[in-house]
Amino acid sequence: MDVATQILISGLTLGAVYAVSTIGLALIFGALNMLNMAQGGLLALGGYIAMWAMQAMGWPAPLAALAAMAAGSLAGGLIFVAAARPMLGGEGFETRIFIATIGIGLMLESVILKLFGPQPQAQSLKLEGGIMLGQVNLPWQNALIFGTALLMLVLVAGMLNRSRLGRAIRATSMNRDAAQLMGVPIRRIYLTILMLSGALAALSGIMISSMSGLLPNMGADPMLKAFIICVVAGLGNVPGAALTAFAIGMLEAVIQYIFGVQYAFAILLCLVIAVLIWRPQGVFGQKEVVRL
């Protein structure tokens, strides 16, 4: 029973962390057909900015988190303005933006490396202590991560389903041309989506670094996991991505307990490969009909 609770706690925490960064990626892919490979750099940026704001500037934790999200959304906006907008509609957009964002991610990580150094650092934005649930210790940090992630998911879902902006985003990802003909300013929508996704990535970066510490290349593995979650859910499917994130988080916690931490990622990837061979369009994806 205690073991099960422990696994549940760590699985939900992992799932919450993954969900926050994954919905950003899913939004971007849904609207722009763009895989943002700079996500890893954005995760690291968020973690480092929060640490820097608390240590060097002495800001309180909520303000530091907001600063990190602002930096993330600024970086996301820059990616759109500098890389995605000049290419939009051009030949081979998917390939080119993929490669361009790899380059941007590399630059982002190198700049962080130059500014903060290669040695691992601890995240200052972190709650200490915990509460005992029966025999199991629930760290406050995990509760905070889970609560924040849930709040973010609710906010994003509300924005997508209830607001004018959300309706425009959904329209754009359903059919870009039709949305544009109906007067949706798609470039501004794209910019908004990238900024939103940058802010979510920064927040996720704070969460990840509070569990595993800060490193300039800390975003690489979480980014790959976030993409895998997107792929399993079906690229561009936002609610599916959030659900899958929690499922994968639980699965990872179970695998970690049974086989050990070092095999968790490898087994997870093998499972994903199997899922994709079974359902190439993702679990929640619809089969696409290609029209010529």
């Binding site: 890389a83 998917e94 390939t95 993929f98 380059g103 630059m107 190198s110 700049v111 895998i228 490969i273």
Partner: protein, 343 residues
């Protein structure tokens, strides 16, 4: 037929080959020759990857994993079975083709970005399985050795025999081996690009409806290109192992994958000579940036992003752009691609 593109490309390849043949006679500097040998290896990988990515349109990131398969297979065949290295290299290239076909069957049913992520994941799985394996398979004098070499990898599995043949000038032998490998790989590229496979992909790009109706199956031809190009990729990995005498998990490194990708993108995706131009340019720039090695990563990132944004067709494409005369703008926005969203 004198101006036919095939003949032109073959002539260029042979002239370059003859020029490079003379280099060791003109300069005996070991540094220059070994750098060029490494250039040959990366040029082979870049040219084959370009076939997959640029010509066949398969968004595969498994190319470095296939390269590593070639390197590991060579080392393991030579180390465990005691095969001569040249034989081990050829066998390893065939093993790589086998592995690539398995990956191809799993991935090629998927669409663009799914293929990219899945192949990236496959490479990562291989890396993790190699590095995390700590159970001893054999225990040589140097200590415990896992089946796939673990984090340390393999060393001392023999060499190509040039040390006995040429003595202290062994690296000249490696230089010529690499050069011949590159020539073979480049001739293969020319054959693919101008041959039936290249035509099939051009048809699929220019008029998919007609091509499909004429029975041109995208997946079947993609599998052909994927498998065939894996041969030279594996051979390049095998030669890399033989040249350096060590094989380790660094062969899977993401940084290396980016470096090769940058070569293709800078040179020109889908062009015949772009990958070689890109490989030469980036290796030269990399040597130049060695003094300021802190900036190397930033430089590569900047080059990668800048080139795809500013020169979508790479350096090889700039020449095309100028030769098409004024007035016409080949980079003018093309007709929007057919919409493939479910309706």
């Amino acid at each position: 037929m004198i101006r036919s593109p095939v003949r032109r490309d073959v002539v260029i390849a042979l002239v370059l080959f003859l020029l490079m043949l003379a280099v060791p006679l003109l300069t005996g500097t070991r540094y220059v020759l070994t750098q060029l040998t490494v250039f040959f290896i990366w040029a082979v990988v870049a040219s084959q990857w370009n076939l997959v990515l640029g010509v066949a349109g398969i968004f595969s990131l498994a190319q470095m994993a296939l390269f590593a398969v070639g390197a590991y297979a060579t080392a393991m065949l030579a180390y465990y079975i005691g095969l001569m290295l040249p034989a081990a290299m050829l066998l390893a290239a065939l093993v790589t083709v086998g592995v690539s076909l398995v990956i191809g069957f799993a991935c090629l049913r998927l669409k663009g970005p799914y293929v990219a992520l899945l192949t990236l994941a496959i490479g990562q799985v291989m890396y993790l399985l190699v590095v995390n394996d700590t159970a001893c398979f054999t225990t040589p004098a140097s200590g415990c050795l896992p089946l796939f070499g673990g984090a340390r990898g393999f060393s001392r599995f023999g060499d190509l025999g040039f040390r006995d043949l040429l003595g202290s000038k062994w690296y000249v032998g490696h230089y010529y081996t690499g050069l011949v490998l590159l020539l073979a790989a480049q001739l293969f590229c020319i054959a693919i690009i101008h041959g039936p496979l290249g035509l099939a992909f051009r048809g699929l790009r220019d008029n998919p409806g007609l091509a499909l109706a004429r029975g041109v199956s995208r997946m079947r031809y993609q599998l052909w290109v994927f498998g065939l190009s894996a041969f030279f990729t594996g051979l390049a990995g095998a030669f890399h192992a033989a040249h350096f005498g060590v094989v380790g998990p660094t062969a899977f490194a993401f940084a290396m994958l980016l470096f090769i990708l940058a070569m293709i993108v800078v040179g020109g995706l889908g062009t015949t000579w772009g990958p070689l131009i890109g490989a030469a340019l980036l290796m030269w720039a990399d040597e130049g940036l060695r003094e300021v090695s802190d900036w190397r990563e930033i430089g590569i990132g900047l080059v990668l992003a800048g080139c795809v944004i500013l020169f979508p067709k790479g350096l090889a494409g700039i020449r095309l752009r100028f030769s098409q005369g004024r007035g016409q703008r080949p980079d003018a926005p093309p007709a929007p691609p057919p919409h493939t969203k479910p309706v």
